[in-house]
């Protein structure tokens, strides 16, 4: 699949996310838009090593995990009409994904714990590839660094760590809050080979997902990607547009 086709899929995924998030105004739309290209690259680009039937992808930043729902629906993990029941009584799709949802593998909602859980899975299943998508603001949790030391010591190269580096926490920029940079140096020191890429560029994504290394991918992304008035604006972390004109504009930009 070429980049143009992947970009078309990504746009469709973002539109679907925007639709189900704005329907009831629930959840973290902003955080769900930044990792879309990472997921589309993994699930749809045949050049990557990822095989959704045998590998596992999970979220440390589960508030962004609804980004995977349109993809799992497309791949028939559950009926597409579940997307219309997102966060509604009777629906199976929740604000934070959890293991009761087909294709999801961990209870979501508490930051800094997914990486340790993933390390246990990777330790017990050396032949299985596990991909974890973490938020950059999640990295403030000390438990993350405990797990990274373990992953390095036990050479768990079957665990791919992807940081959705959108640069924003809940109420501002990470580098203003408490600086994470030089983030790549920190990961190199704790884990090993680390590469910083453009998380919206399919050549970049293909290059890191089509080989075993690097183990750590810092994907620079834009929070709210695809909706111009949300892009990079921290105030949208917990705000889902409710204004009709803003919803219309968002839908048009993603169409």
């Amino acid at each position: 699949m070429d980049n143009k086709q992947l970009e078309t899929i990504a746009k469709s995924v973002r539109k679907t996310i925007f639709e189900f998030k704005t329907r009831d105004g629930i959840g973290h739309l902003h955080s769900s838009l930044s990792p879309v290209d990472i997921l589309v690259s993994l699930f749809y680009d045949e050049s990557t090593n990822f095989n959704h039937e045998t590998d596992m992808v999970m979220f440390g930043k589960a508030h962004g995990s609804p980004s995977i729902y349109p993809i799992l629906a497309d791949l028939n993990y559950f009926p597409k009409d579940e997307l219309e029941k997102y966060c509604r009584p009777g629906g199976i799709l929740r604000l934070h994904s959890d293991s009761s949802i087909p294709g999801c593998h961990f209870v979501g909602g508490s930051l800094g714990n997914g990486i340790g859980f993933a390390s246990g899975l990777a330790y017990a299943n050396r032949n299985k590839n596990i991909y974890i998508i973490m938020g950059d603001a999640e990295l403030y949790e000390g438990s993350v660094w405990e797990s990274l030391m373990f992953i390095n010591h036990h050479n768990l190269t079957n665990l791919k760590i992807i940081v959705d580096r959108n640069g924003l926490g809940t109420i501002g920029e990470t580098e203003t809050m408490l600086k994470l940079n030089p983030l790549d140096e920190k990961f190199k020191s704790f884990v090993g080979e680390t590469k910083v890429i453009d998380g919206h560029n399919y050549d970049d994504l293909r290059s890191v997902f089509s080989s075993q290394s690097p183990q750590v991918v810092i994907a620079n992304t834009t929070k709210g990607k695809g909706v111009s008035y949300m892009e990079g604006k921290w105030k949208y972390h917990t705000i889902v547009p409710k204004d009709k004109d803003l919803i219309k504009q968002g839908m048009e930009e993603l169409s």
């Binding site: 508490s110 340790g116 246990g120 899975l121 299943n125 405990e146």
Partner: protein, 306 residues
């Protein structure tokens, strides 16, 4: 042999036959661990002082089908409470936590190393099983039970226990409580673990005084083992615990009575609502905080005479 080394040694024998049994130590030592390290290195994970990660790791191993045991000092259970709640209880990943040196067991190390409230916070977890064995036989039964029936378990191990209960106690863990002495129904004393020794001394004094008393070891704290029959014959009940009284052992008895629609007079004896910053060993602290044999005895006499 200590409760800890007994558990780890017994588990070792099982692990030799089952490669899925994994023991994690967060840099806590134990003489029984040495064989694991030497003979079963693939089944022993030494994670370092990283309780939060270690619980998450254990949860992931459990999800992958391993039978996971994690050993640390009891006081650290508070540090990784979130991970136990989130990755094990909420996500339904059963592991067995060997929580060593409960209550004042590490005195005189100070309150950071002591758990005067772990029963209260651990039993708030959904679907956890909590045990406080009082002897070695019970520890062996718990090894077997935890291996054969994987659940989220919090096993409170005593650094020292009263050796009289190797004779008096039982290996039967099926009911969650055992009657140790039955010499009448005027009063029932309920205790567990290390405090059971003091409870026995008080029991003997009360019998000498001419009272008719029963002594129960209630080693299982969750699920609540109390039934409508447990205290049916007693009008007065005394609970003795090495915990503060906020939600601790005595509260479990009260809940058991309430849930079984039994109205009884209950005297709860435990540690005061404070952290103890004072030099002294376990017995010193118990004796100076209202839990000496004589002060327990005196409190019960006053309770009987009410």
């Amino acid at each position: 042999m200590t409760q800890r080394d007994t558990f780890i040694s017994e588990l070792f024998e099982i692990a030799k036959k089952d490669k899925d049994v994994i023991l994690i130590s967060v840099d806590m030592g134990a003489s029984a661990l040495d064989r694991w390290r030497d003979e079963l290195p693939e089944q022993f994970i030494w994670t370092g002082i990283s309780e939060q990660h270690s619980i998450n790791l254990a949860a992931g191993l459990s999800e992958a089908g391993k039978k996971v045991y994690l050993y640390f000092m009891a006081a650290w259970s508070a540090r990784c409470f979130e991970q136990i709640r989130y990755s094990c209880s909420m996500a339904k990943n059963p592991i067995t936590i060997l929580s060593n040196g409960v209550a004042l067991g590490y005195a005189p190390a100070g309150p950071a190393h002591e758990t005067n409230e772990d029963i209260a916070y651990m039993r708030s977890l959904i679907d956890v099983e909590i045990h406080s064995p009082a002897n070695i036989q019970m520890v062996k039964s718990l090894v077997k039970e935890s291996y054969e029936n994987q659940k989220l378990r919090y096993i409170r191990l005593e650094r020292k226990y009263d050796l009289r209960f190797d004779e008096l106690g039982s290996d039967d863990i099926s009911q969650g409580l055992n009657v140790i002495k039955n010499q009448g129904d005027e009063l029932c004393i309920v205790s567990y673990g290390y405090m059971l020794g003091r409870a026995l001394d008080v029991f003997n004094k009360l019998i000498s005084d001419g009272h008719k008393v029963t002594l129960i070891d209630m080693f299982k704290m969750k699920p609540n083992p109390i039934t409508s029959d447990t205290f049916i014959n007693f009008n007065k009940i005394v609970t003795i615990e090495e915990q503060t009284l906020s939600g601790g052992f005595g509260s479990i008895i009260l809940e058991g009575l309430c849930d079984n629609k039994l109205t009884k007079k209950v005297l709860r004896l435990g540690l005061p609502e404070k952290y103890i910053f004072e030099n002294g060993d376990r017995d010193y602290h118990l004796n100076n905080n209202g839990l000496s044999v004589s002060s327990i005895h005196q409190s019960i006499i006053e309770f009987i005479d009410e």
